[in-house]
């Protein structure tokens, strides 16, 4: 749901260099440029240490860039940060709040920082923590802490919300719960910029994703388009009664790869193709009548495969 013609976030040629020992330096963000449209859910996808958090923290004004420019809602972060702050909500990867306050009191004081009177009950209800209203932070589980962080990020009713790995380390139920929360933000027309290293999360939540590694954006588009751009956009997986002519399969137009494994004594194949319709049309002719095919499935590739294709290695923890 795009609401305004003005982009919510514009990042131009962002560079962040960290000095290290012995005169060396680390280029954590290396010429990153992108823009996020208003009302969009935009995701930064990449392994730990890829530069996601640094990029996000520069955008939020927590860190200063070595060079480059950032605009949020048309305002320059380097000069107008104090005007921008009330219009953005931020959930940090590692953050804490005043320990000896109840959750509703934390929301109240944070609302006060924005010169706003907030209803803690409403915010806590949004994140499913109504019953924890009078709890202290240390009494929350990891998932509840993340949800509470998001509640705090919403105290000023922001137009743009930044979420840094909101589901990292959470159990499946807690992850789904947070996904629902992000979907609700999208439904309200808010712009959400999130980082994650979960491919399924990016695929499910994000209108567009930027795959970042070693401080550079490797690709940026809608998840489906990124997948479809792969030579191996689809997998045709099947089991046969007898081994098949693998060279003939690979010679089919659009076939980009073939792997074979064993499935209860029968050969199981994974044929990676760009256009499954073209391959399937000629499929039975290649296999011949004597070969019985079982459990044939056509499945799209995943963002993880896009990432591996772009970076050439496994995701790191």
């Amino acid at each position: 749901m795009y609401q305004s013609e003005q982009p919510a976030v514009v990042v131009e040629n962002l560079v962040k260099v960290f000095p290290q020992s012995k005169g060396e330096s680390l280029r954590a963000v290396d010429g990153v440029s992108f823009q996020v449209e208003s009302g969009e859910v935009f995701g930064f996808l990449g392994p730990n240490g890829a530069g996601k958090t640094t990029t996000l923290e520069i955008i939020e004004g927590i860190q200063e860039p070595t060079s480059g420019r950032v605009h949020i809602l048309g305002l320059d972060v380097s000069t107008d940060l104090e005007i921008i702050k009330p219009r953005i909500g931020v959930q940090l990867q590692a953050e804490s709040f005043f320990e000896r306050l109840h959750l509703d009191e934390i929301l109240d004081i944070y609302g006060n920082f924005y010169n706003m009177t907030v209803d803690p009950g409403v915010l806590l209800e949004r994140v499913g923590l109504t019953e924890k209203r009078k709890s202290f932070l240390k009494q929350l589980s990891g998932g509840q802490h993340r949800r509470f962080s998001i509640a705090v990020s919403l105290v000023s009713d922001p137009e743009v919300i930044f979420l840094d790995e909101p589901t990292s380390g959470l159990d499946p139920q807690a992850r789904r719960n947070l996904w629902d929360l992000v979907e609700a933000m999208r439904a309200e027309g808010k712009t959400v910029v999130l980082t994650t290293h979960y491919m399924d999360e990016a695929e499910t939540l994000c209108d567009r994703v930027a795959i970042i590694d070693h401080g550079k954006i490797r690709a940026m588009d809608q998840p489906l388009k990124l997948i479809q751009a792969l030579d191996t956009a689809y997998h045709i997986r099947f089991t046969t009664s007898t081994p098949v002519d693998e060279e003939a399969l690979l010679a089919l137009p659009g076939a980009a790869g073939l792997t074979q494994s064993d499935s209860n004594g029968s050969p199981r194949y994974d044929l990676q193709v760009h256009n499954p319709a073209d391959v399937l049309a000629k499929f039975s002719r290649i296999l011949g009548k004597k070969v019985q095919v079982e459990d044939l499935r056509v499945e799209p590739s995943t963002l993880e495969e896009v990432f591996l294709h772009l970076t050439g290695r496994e995701l790191r923890d």
Binding site: F18, I62, K85, L92, F97, R100, L101, I109, F113
Partner: protein, 363 residues
Amino acid sequence: MLAKLFVTNLKMFTRDKGTLAATLLFPVLMSVIYGLAVKSNVKPLKLVVAASPAPASQQLISALEGAREKNIKIFIIRRVNSEKAAREAFKSTQIDGALIVPDITEKGVVTFLYDEKSPEKYFRAIGLVEAAIKSYNLQRAGAVETVQFLRQGLRGGDRGQGFEAFLPGLLMFTVVLSSLSFGASRIIGYRETGVFKRLMVTPLRPRVFLSAEILSRATIASVQTTVVLLLAVVAYDAQVKGAAFWLFLLAIMGALFFVMIGFAISGMSDSPTAAAGVAQLLGLLLIMFGGGFPTSFLPPALGKILGYLPVAPMSDAMRVVILDGKSPITAAPRESIILTTWVAFSIALAYLTFRFREPSKKR
């Protein structure tokens, strides 16, 4: 925003049972310890007396009763009729000594029985009894005491004789230690756990945070001062000659100096760990060389420089208020100027350097 944050700070303080106990129990505990020390200075000498009913003997007993010299006071707690009864009573643990006064209308020998195992305990008491008897003899002879002798015990630098002598040090250490321990550690903890980082993305300005901290620390220092003063005056009969206002002001200034130094260090250090180390070292040095330990072993030039540290002027200024009943501005202008300069410097430094952001961040 400032008022709300100030109230929130106090709320958090009252909920932190450990800090609350340490902040308030420390002065109470120290007061009790010092109080016991002061009280135990006045030792009652409990005597049993066997005196003749003769008027001269009774006159002598009256002269002795309630006699006091410095920290020994004679209490005649029992009167018996015979020397034998007095000697029997002396065996009781409740009795410190026995005085046997025969009929001394013409002449006589007054006997003082004491425990040989601890004669030092009664050394002054014996002197006291001797002095009283000599005085009685002179009086009976109609002699005039043309030369009188006054014994006055003094300890170096102490003007007070009671609990008030300890009060400046007690007040100083109470506010300084709690400000140093809990002020700096809280700030460092906030940086370490990400509280400051989270505040950075809100419109809250560091200077507002700092101002709320100043107000809350001043309030806590005032509460501590109230507790110490109340205990000192009510429970230990301390004689505070000057206006309590000055004591509150000096205590608040001391507390603010240490809290603001904590903020300044936190604002200038590369990491929370470094900040914690520098704060602890600085605090230790300030207390050690600011009045906590003698500096006479140091080279004179260094000792002179250390005299300009804020802790000693703070306790000196308090001493002027408590023991001399004077304003520190008029009676201790040098100390007042040094302390004020330090406090102003630390506040200015904190406002200039403190940021929610860490000063430099390397990876």
